[in-house]
Symmetry: C2
Subunit: 354 residues, 2 copies
């Protein structure tokens, strides 16, 4: 197969982890006979530094012309504590999501037996956890207008807004995913307070009869924030709006003990995007110590979701499991054993595939 992949390494450790994913993708290409070409684009703080724009048109063209985007991470502390900064790296990310039509962020949470002891939760709570969030990614308070300040600057406001269609298309993805899993869908909202949440709940209630095999539960976001920690095994598929999804998927990311390994996919249009859920981790940038496995597993998701190539995806998962079993891993999960460099792990994975 011909594959045109856009590479967006981004900031911090982004370039280092993307480099390892590329090694793995190339090895898969070689082994399975795919013809893979890459185009690289700037995004985030590095794009601001180079062009003044966190998502330059040139980058968008590369992405829009690709089959799939592999994304590293963005964010730089120098922009975070300046609330008056006019351009922020995150704006690039948001514009990218919107312009590419990536309205669904898919974030699985699952455990690796060899890592679950690193969870902050007790083993019996988290052992075997397996759920997936479908977070709406191009609506809500992230994009709603009006937003800003009054003239004197003494008052600020944001608008959360959702249309029925935005909810329907995200919810359908959740229902379909649930049909292929344990058939439980949890709709997360704040319908006791917010008008947008009431439209979410109402819309999901209307769709539910079309999926009679799926059990639907409705829970308030505050209750889910509790129960995710208390009984994470109770969940299967969760659907929610953009801001709640931001908070809850990050909360969820720490419970398995494998945060450095969690991949994600952003879907919704022809071009799909794949990225690790961790951030740009600026303290580690350039040190060749960051864990590349989340990005490598995001590449596995890419073969599956973007190209429908399950064997290729499986081959990557297998080799990641092998690296865990043999302890060929970075220091964050080395557990007192020998720690390997980011680049060494990438080389090892690629060599094992071939």
């Amino acid at each position: 197969m011909e594959m045109n992949i856009a590479l967006l390494p981004g900031d911090g450790i982004g370039p280092e982890v993307i480099a390892q994913a590329v090694k793995v993708v190339n090895a898969i290409g070689k082994k399975f006979g795919h013809n893979i070409s890459y185009k690289e684009g700037l995004v985030g703080a590095c794009a601001i530094d180079a062009t003044g724009d966190p998502y330059p048109d040139a980058t968008h063209e590369i992405c829009a012309g690709s089959d799939a985007v592999l994304f590293g991470a963005i964010g730089d502390p120098k922009y975070d504590n300046d609330p008056k900064a006019k351009v922020r790296p995150e704006q690039g990310l948001l514009r990218m999501r919107q312009k590419l039509g990536l309205f669904a962020n898919v974030r699985p949470t699952f455990t690796f037996p060899s890592l679950v002891h690193k969870s902050p939760l007790k083993l019996d709570r988290v052992d075997g956890v397996d759920f997936v969030f479908f977070r709406e990614l191009t609506g809500g308070v992230y994009f709603g207008e009006p937003r800003g300040r009054n003239e004197q600057g003494t008052k600020a406001f944001d608008t959360n807004v959702y249309s029925k269609e935005e909810i329907v298309r995200l919810a359908r993805m959740g229902f379909e995913a649930a049909q292929g899993r344990r058939k439980l869908l949890t709709c997360v909202d704040k319908a006791n307070v917010m008008a947008t949440s009431r439209l979410w709940r109402e819309t999901v209630q209307e769709l539910a009869p079309e999926y009679p095999d799926v059990k639907v539960e409705y829970e308030f976001v505050d209750a889910v924030a509790m129960r995710l920690i208390q009984w994470p095994k109770a969940y299967d598929v969760l659907i929610t709006e953009n801001l709640f999804g931001d908070i809850l998927t990050d909360e969820a990311s720490v419970i398995s003990g494998s945060m450095g390994l969690m991949p994600s996919a952003s879907l919704g249009s022809k071009v799909k995007l794949f990225e690790p859920i961790h951030g740009s981790y600026p303290q580690a940038a350039g040190k060749d110590i960051a864990n590349p496995l989340a990005t490598v597993l995001s590449a596995a998701m890419m073969f599956d979701y973007a190209f429908g190539l399950k064997a290729e995806a499986q081959a990557i998962s297998d080799v990641v499991n092998l690296s865990l079993a043999e302890g060929y891993v970075t220091e964050d999960i080395a557990d007192g054993g020998k720690a390997y460099k980011t680049s060494e792990v990438g080389d090892w994975l690629a060599a094992k595939i071939l």
Copy 2:
């Protein structure tokens, strides 16, 4: 001292737990020579059922004329899954907060040595946790206008809005609390996305020089949702807006293993309100099995925060600790030992005080 207390038992287990707090408050009154009188009001689902209004004027008059309000819980499942319901119990709660000017919700999280093993977190993560949230309670998306639907009903919107003054008064409470504690203040926001959050961060940055002994940290709400679970001991005082506070304080409530014991205070005006953080727990209503200790400890907070009576507050904490030590507790924390009824625990506590 003369004390006029408004009692708002509310729904579900509310009346049962409030009844135990009253026994304890009366015992304290007798022992320390206070003259305590009560007026009871309806709020929540029971108020809708009786009057059509979840926060009737008569209830507001009782609260506004009191020195302090002791609140149970509200909420009834029959209203939750009807997104088109015109009147909801929660509206009563929100109107009450606003009309009484209760702009700051104070929620401590701390551990009881005898209960910390019930935490879903590993002991070393949670042992000795001690932080407190100051959640803004009368602003943000809970009250912002406009909110609602477009004419066709196909689009819904909410408005989040904050003025500088609303942020200043809440933040000052947080700074002052930090000065009396470990001198660390965490400002929780989403300043990389939301205009309101940028005003929060900017305002807190402006206030910080007035409190040179307090170290201020700024963290995004999604990062806090993670770190609360990973390193809860890292926090001291956290300040945040209404919706983030709703989600994060509930998340925080499960980490100590003592959720059934966590009290809260709502401050901001002459009349202060005290309530357990748990909900109305409708499945347990009327069974005399609910844990009354959170409500009893809320009464302790009342003596301290509303009346400045620290010895009285301490006497209540002491007797609660005694009930834990002697295992005179309800089934949720009986741990295989004998479980006592809600009413028995209340009687026991009152008797021990006298």
